[in-house]
């Protein structure tokens, strides 16, 4: 046999692959119509998709009622037009009427600009923290400054801002406070607990961590919240009674820390033993070994389950509804309790769902970006 030599001859007009090898037609052939069975499934799904998408668009955008007139007699909105369209078209007028209550709850109406700034500050904080070029020591200062500003705005009482007691707070700021503080405080606790549980030469610490994890993980978050709101005050001395939001916050932190700790422990276990030994052999102390070698790698390994837990807890903050804290979901529920709008809860829940979705989806997109970026440097 002669040695195989390949010569690349470029044929004019053949630089592009033929239509049937690449491009949308080829993709559809390969993925949607590659056998009779899959073609049938594709067609059936396409039929249902078109049918229901069409009727949803019809309901949400075409037959929907966007505004309703004011009833001059009562000074309230008159939902007659919505009632007429009920069942065939959405009544978005309820959102128009109630959006400020849904977003900010019972926060005093004329002060709601403060709550709005708080939401903007939170989003700004998330975006800043997400960018790698801001990952420096100064970021901690930014967090402290922003969170201080957030509480000054919410509480007021200084700088000529009216004092707003905590039980008047509500809506999206509450959801953001609970989840941001919850995860930001739970994360360092989780790292320590995960390290403690893997500790070999401190058996007492290890036992404590195991007990903490197993006890908290063994009860539902709802029961922890009940304990924080109902039982805990019974044991406190008279007069010393931290507010309900703080108690719920602590319960969420303790609960989230357990789940995060187990995720992080998974990352610690996945690292090859050689990494620990190499760090030991260089004479790095325990904390330097963990902080410089082990955790940076372990945390990168567990970005997907970590973000999964973050997203889960962002949504789980809505469970505070049952102890009467006015978060986003609670304010949505209260909004549709208004007799005028009672029949139009679907529209409100769609809006709530969209808000939650925006936050969760951005988290998940961000984590995918982060994974891609890290995988560039760590190619084994």
């Amino acid at each position: 046999m002669s040695t195989a030599t390949t010569t690349h001859i470029s044929v004019p007009g053949r630089e592009q692959p033929p239509m049937l090898v690449a491009g949308p037609v080829a993709w559809a052939r390969a993925n949607l119509f590659n056998s009779i069975g899959s073609s049938l499934v594709t067609l059936a799904l396409a039929y249902f998709l078109l049918k229901y998408a069409a009727s949803f668009i019809d309901w949400a955008f075409i037959k929907s009622v966007w505004t309703v007139p004011m009833d001059p007699a009562t000074g309230k909105l008159d939902p007659t037009a919505c009632r007429a369209a009920k069942g065939t078209g959405a009544c978005w007028a309820v959102i128009w009427d109630k959006y400020r209550f849904i977003l900010f709850g019972r926060y005093p109406f004329e002060e709601q600009w403060r709550a709005a700034i708080v939401v903007v500050l939170f989003i700004g904080l998330f975006v800043t923290s997400a960018m790698r070029r801001f990952w420096r020591r100064e970021l901690a200062l930014i967090w402290v400054a922003t969170l201080t500003a957030i509480f000054v705005l919410m509480w007021g009482g200084v700088f000529g801002l009216r004092y707003v007691p905590q039980d008047e707070w509500g809506g999206l700021p509450i959801t953001l406070i609970l989840s941001t503080f919850g995860l930001a405080c739970a994360f360092p606790i989780a790292v320590l607990v995960a390290l403690g549980r893997r500790s070999t030469n401190l058996p007492a610490v290890k036992l404590l961590c195991v007990i903490y994890i197993e006890v908290i993980r063994g009860v539902p978050l709802i029961s922890l919240l009940f304990m924080a709101s109902v039982m805990f005050p019974l044991f406190m001395p008279e007069g010393l009674n931290p507010d309900k939001l703080l108690r719920a916050q602590v319960a969420i932190i303790l609960f989230a820390a357990v789940y995060l700790a187990e995720v992080i422990r998974g990352g610690l276990q996945a690292l090859p033993k050689g990494q620990y030994e190499a760090a030991d052999a260089l004479g790095l102390s325990y904390w330097k070994k963990m902080g410089l070698i082990i955790l940076p790698q372990a945390l990168r390994l567990v970005i997907p389950p970590l973000v999964n837990t973050f997203i889960g807890f962002f949504k789980d903050t809505s469970l505070v509804l049952i102890i009467g804290i006015f978060d986003l979901l609670t304010s949505g529920k209260v909004a549709v309790a208004d007799p005028i709008w009672q029949a139009f809860s679907t529209e409100v829940y769609i809006m709530l769902g969209l808000i939650y979705f925006c936050f969760c989806f951005s988290m998940s997109r961000y984590s995918r970006g982060l994974e891609r970026e890290f995988s560039k440097s760590v190619r084994r």
Binding site: G274, L282, L284, S285, K288, Q297, V378, R379
Partner: protein, 250 residues
């Protein structure tokens, strides 16, 4: 052996068990400053365990180990000091994959020796030049070949300016064509007067640099002597068998 100073490493009747398995039996060994000792033996003979006991990656249960005059105990602070004086090179390189080659080398000088970054960078480049890969400094370990990674691992250990270097089968995980580049680096290091304990099956290397060869089998030192004595006039049947096996393999 320069005997005017204390020996670099002393092992006195060291015993170790993994559960029921007796992996080190009454091992005694003295390594003088500047001495090069090669440890060989069949797999499972305890040679890796022995070398890993010297910087306490494994703990021994009986006997004493002194490194640079300090006994190895549970005192972690003293242990970290000893470890920073003893460089170790592993079979599987164990570079830190999330750090660049340069960062791998400067990490311990900066964090353990508290060296300023500029100085640590210069030191790292000096040793990377000595192992002949300065141009890879800004790459990540995953982008290098096995031989290059092992040379980086040697440079990383040398950046701590250790008094003793331990090698745990440094060429066993390498493709044949890369073994030479690592051995050449080790020979150069030996010629510079470094105290070295090296677990290896590279008999050519042992002949060239070793002052003494230790043959271990089933947790005990069966025979020891100069490379010429050991390879040309083996006394025990176990060593004869071992030598015939590895010579057949080569």
């Amino acid at each position: 052996m320069s005997n005017d100073t204390q020996p670099a490493i002393v092992l006195e009747k060291v015993n170790k068990w993994f559960g029921q398995l007796h992996v080190l039996r009454d091992v005694s060994l003295t390594v003088g400053t500047g001495e090069k000792v090669v440890v060989c033996g069949p797999s499972g003979s305890g040679k890796s365990t022995l070398i890993r006991c010297i910087n306490r990656l494994e703990t021994h249960q009986e006997g004493r180990i002194l490194v640079d005059g300090t006994e190895l105990t549970d005192d972690t602070r003293a242990l970290d000091t000893i470890r920073s004086e003893v460089g170790m090179v592993f079979q599987s390189f164990n570079l830190f994959p999330h750090l660049t080659i340069l960062e791998n080398c400067t990490l311990a000088p900066i964090w353990v020796r508290k060296m300023p970054k500029v100085e640590a960078d210069a030191l790292a480049m000096e040793f990377l030049t000595r192992v002949k890969i300065p141009e890879q400094a800004l790459k990540y370990p995953g982008q290098l070949s096995g031989g290059q990674q092992q040379r980086v691992a040697i440079a990383r250990a040398l950046c701590m300016r250790p008094k003793i270097m331990l090698f745990d089968e440094p060429t066993s995980a390498l493709d044949p064509e890369m073994i030479k580049e690592v051995l050449d680096t080790m020979i150069e290091l030996a010629e510079s007067g470094m105290t070295m304990v090296c677990v290896t099956h590279e008999m050519g290397f042992a002949r060239q640099v070793a002052d003494r060869v230790l043959f271990m089998d089933q947790g005990e030192v069966v025979e020891s002597g100069t490379p010429v004595e050991m390879f040309e006039r083996p006394q025990t049947d176990r060593l004869k068998l071992f030598l015939s096996q590895i010579l057949r393999g080569h």
